[in-house]
Amino acid sequence: MTGARLTGFRFEPLNPLHDKAGFQCGQPELDGYFQRQARQDVSRDLARVYVLTRDGKNVDGFYTLSAISVDPTKLPPQTVRKLPNIAIPATLLGRMAVDKRMQGIGLGNVVLMNALRMALDGSRIVGSWAVIVDAKPDALAFYMKNEFQPFPDQPSRLFLTMAHFAQLVSGLSIAE
């Protein structure tokens, strides 16, 4: 995280005014998804896509949230003890990216925090135990620094429980 002050940003659900073609994070798979697939996923209710923008047009970042279930036997033993032996509902942070022109100033954290906030708010309407992410190797440290824990047998898959996130941001939040 940098010490720079970041202000003037807002998050919006992906809409036709957003300049999808102008977004480039540097990873062709993510760029291609955002430019060609994201709207379809939204229209088919497969994902919700949220965009970081300053002007409602140019896209500085985006992320996707979807429903997922977790096999409790795949979780760490100390975590499993607190859960029933059924598929555990969770929220998948499927894709997340920051535009190349805006990388290196801490916006990744801003995007992640909004994703966690939205997931937590959503979990208060439809139950969700945790946020799940499948991290690329170079992003593992980023998520672990933000309190995510790896699945024991699948170290690239990580989770952060809603309860832990809510506890950490209580008192900091805008609307509890």
Binding site: M1, R5, L6, T7, G8, F9, R10, F11, P76, G106, L107, N109, V110, L112, M113, N114, R117, P137, D138, L140, A141, F142, M144, K145, N146, E147, P150, P152, D153, P155, H164, F165, Q167, L168, V169, L172, S173, I174
Partner: protein, 82 residues
């Protein structure tokens, strides 16, 4: 020191050149990570970035969740809610 061994996985998983002093830190962090990571994660699976997280938490101990709390405060500021 010039011949200090670096495990090939560390070299291959990180694009950035690794300084010799950093190699020492990474090895110390990797040893320590054996005790903190799940058993399925071998210490040599750590990337340099992973190792830096371990080193940071080792040399600059913070209260649990301090990084996330700081990130959340920056987030609130970025969206004009703080």
């Amino acid at each position: 020191m010039a011949t200090h061994p670096v495990h090939p996985q560390i070299e291959s998983l990180d694009q950035r050149p690794v300084s010799l002093s950093e190699v020492d830190d990474i090895e110390r962090a990797a040893e320590r990570a054996c005790f903190t990571n799940p058993p399925s994660i071998e210490p040599w699976m750590l990337t340099v970035a992973d190792a830096e997280v371990v080193i940071d938490s080792w040399e600059n101990p913070r209260k649990p969740g301090a990084h996330l709390k700081a990130a959340y405060a920056h987030y609130l500021e970025a969206i004009g809610q703080r």
